[in-house]
Symmetry: C2
Subunit: 410 residues, 2 copies
């Protein structure tokens, strides 16, 4: 296979837990995002067991096809850790004991007050021609091998060690990718389905693959992430700005790490508003999501998890007659829960959720997935009715995200 | 590279969102677990963009090395969906329009009341010699191609479509893997660190790779999963039974999908106990985790999220003097919260959590990560003190898992 377009990178993760146990690989997400500003686009990911021959095959294949290959894992001291050996075998170079590296490993074990394992010298084996990348957060040094047409980097598998070495040791050593760097812009939307978002912006992108700029939509319950990627900065900015304009108030952030709760928190803090919650089917997930935000004690006061009807009546002052007439899952009860929570907590705003998360408890009239949300302020208490798809977890997540979006828009 | 041991399988996931956007790949976890009972061990995972040439390369490489190759994604109707074309190209077979398949796709769009896309006929393209796998949950049919020495299966990328096709269409068509099937046994432990678990059982496993049976430990906050895998059923059972005996009451399940909340729920339901929660730093996450369990309304009554001191006093009847003397993060306040919640909810048991999740708010005396948990029953209210590592999310998850483990052991 011929060399693909300049700027393409591969990530190889090493560890039997990723293959035989099927554990999802997450280091790659961090690496992918860190490489983008340098113009590298990840175009291949692989995971191999702790097996020297399989990894050597993967290394040779990736180095022949991609400008940059980043490997994570298998750099520890045990006999299971074979990434160094696989690199030497893949590229036909010798492994040599490096006394300076060994001294620094020994010093690091001393610093942590841990005994030096009998196999520690394995970590001081350096393939001929490779540069050593110092590890500030652990004992396993990384390695960087420059090959004709390809750079191969080995990083530790432990996420916080990997991330520090990536940022401090690897990125500063990488050239900007051969082609024009890729420009990536991202925004997140709530309150629209994936197909709504696609219909709103698809005409901005050329049809047929590959399109430049290209559009990717990532969907999770209650959120759609819009990614615009291309080689021409002006084109990407133009298409991104127009997408953003068309999606309007549905856009809640351009930060890949921010959730709806972060966006809502910023608005609450800016206005000096305080908030309380009253939850039935979500059982505390709305409160838990809001309080994920550091510093949330500035605006989050209190919440009630009123799972039973008795709790709704006793804790939030919901009238028993309302539940009898309309049922616990109704606009009227949602409003009474939000109003009660706001009154009792003395907050500027309160949110309530009541619904049927399933798998049991649905009827023809009130099916699984039916959820009422209400938002109470001094001016107004207003409920909305929703029918969310999917299983119990999905319905609860949809309900929480939709409630956070209402809070943000209020 | 020569063919590896019998029973090894590869998984290839297709989609630009997995490479260029770095999204973690999760279908592979489900496939890995479903294949194990048939004796297949996953020994290779790869992700490629929606790119015909790259995927054809991946298919050829995997089919030459593994007995079974399962591909997910890229079977939709759009021009980005190139998995069918890549299979035809990789193995040099022609694509043919299948009128019977097309009729069933058309019927499916009608059933969902969706207009037939102009490109729908793409989904009726069948590589010569391939068997069509019916899709009960969506429009994209799967494909199965038997090659000399290797079976290649194409499944949709949408998780619930993939899972249904895997179970109903693919697994029944697969032979038991060539070698002796691998036997996998798993248990989950709480209340011990990864190194505690390793020390307890490591002597049961041969040192040096590869060991058979082999041990893998998977760690997440407050939980360690122990996986024992081998080719000899008797050996695996012997080592697994002895591991289980040594880990004793720390073991909470053998079900890979069950969490601590499931284990606690079973015990609560069996005893007919009811439960209430009072949370500060976890902001509702304990309630949300308990109520993830379907049918939790049978034993979960209510919960309070008392984030502010005022809320602890007003809602749970915590004495203001206790907070003044000991601080909100203290054994005394944790006990008062649990006792108050139990009394007000009238439940058999109540759990409370108060702590400093950070990143701010820590002091030398009370650092970030300090958490008090209390559990109140009719007989006893008792708190425990913990210092959890990691960031805000990690500390909160540790606190919730540790509280659930106390509930389970009570």
């Amino acid at each position: 296979m011929s060399k693909p377009a300049a700027g393409q990178a591969a990530i190889i993760a090493v560890g039997t837990e990723l293959t035989a146990d099927g554990r999802p690989e997450t280091n790659g997400t961090i690496i992918t995002r860190a490489l983008a500003p340098l113009g590298y686009e990840v175009a291949w990911r692989a995971a191999t067991p702790d097996d020297e021959s399989s990894l050597a095959h993967a290394l040779r294949d990736a180095a022949a096809r991609f400008e940059l290959v980043v490997v994570t894992g298998g750099l520890g001291p045990t006999v299971d850790d074979v990434t160094r050996e696989a690199m030497a075998r893949a590229f036909g170079v010798a492994l040599r004991h490096d006394e300076r590296v060994f001294a620094s490993i020994r010093a690091r074990y001393e610093h942590y007050g841990r005994p030096l394992p009998v196999t520690a010298a394995r970590q001081a084996q350096v393939p001929e021609g490779a540069e050593v990348l110092e590890n500030d957060a652990g004992t396993a040094p990384g390695l960087l091998l420059r090959r004709p047409g390809s750079i191969v980097a080995l990083l530790p598998g432990v996420p916080h060690e990997m991330e520090r070495m990536l940022e401090r040791r690897l990125l500063p050593r990488l050239p900007v990718a051969g082609g024009r760097p890729a420009v990536v812009r991202l925004l997140k939307v709530s309150g629209l389905s994936e197909s709504d978002v696609q219909s709103a912006v698809i005409d901005l992108f050329a049809t047929g693959a590959p399109s430049d700029p290209a559009l990717t939509l990532l969907t999770s319950p209650g959120e759609v992430t819009v990614v615009v990627r291309g080689r021409g900065a002006a084109d990407v900015e133009r298409v991104f700005a127009e997408s953003r304009r068309r999606l309007g108030a549905h856009v809640f952030t351009e930060d890949p790490r921010a959730g709806l709760e972060t966006a809502a928190a910023e608005l609450l803090a800016a206005r000096g508003w305080t908030v309380a919650t009253a939850e039935s089917c979500t059982g505390g997930l709305l409160g838990a999501t809001l309080t994920r935000v550091p510093g949330s004690s500035a605006w989050f006061r209190q919440g009630w998890i009123t799972y039973s009807n008795e709790a709704k009546i006793a804790l939030l002052g919901v009238e028993p007659g309302l539940i009898e007439r309309h049922g616990a899952v109704s606009a009227e009860v949602a409003d009474a829960m939000a109003g009660g929570a706001r009154r009792l907590a003395g907050t500027d705003v309160a949110l309530s959720i009541t619904g049927i998360a399933g798998p049991d408890g649905g009827t023809a009239d009130k099916p699984v997935g039916l959820v009422y949300l209400s938002l109470a302020t001094a001016a107004l208490t207003r409920s909305t009715r929703h029918h969310f798809p999917g299983d119990r977890d999905n319905i609860r997540l949809f309900a929480v995200r939709t409630a956070l979006n209402r809070l943000r828009l209020a």
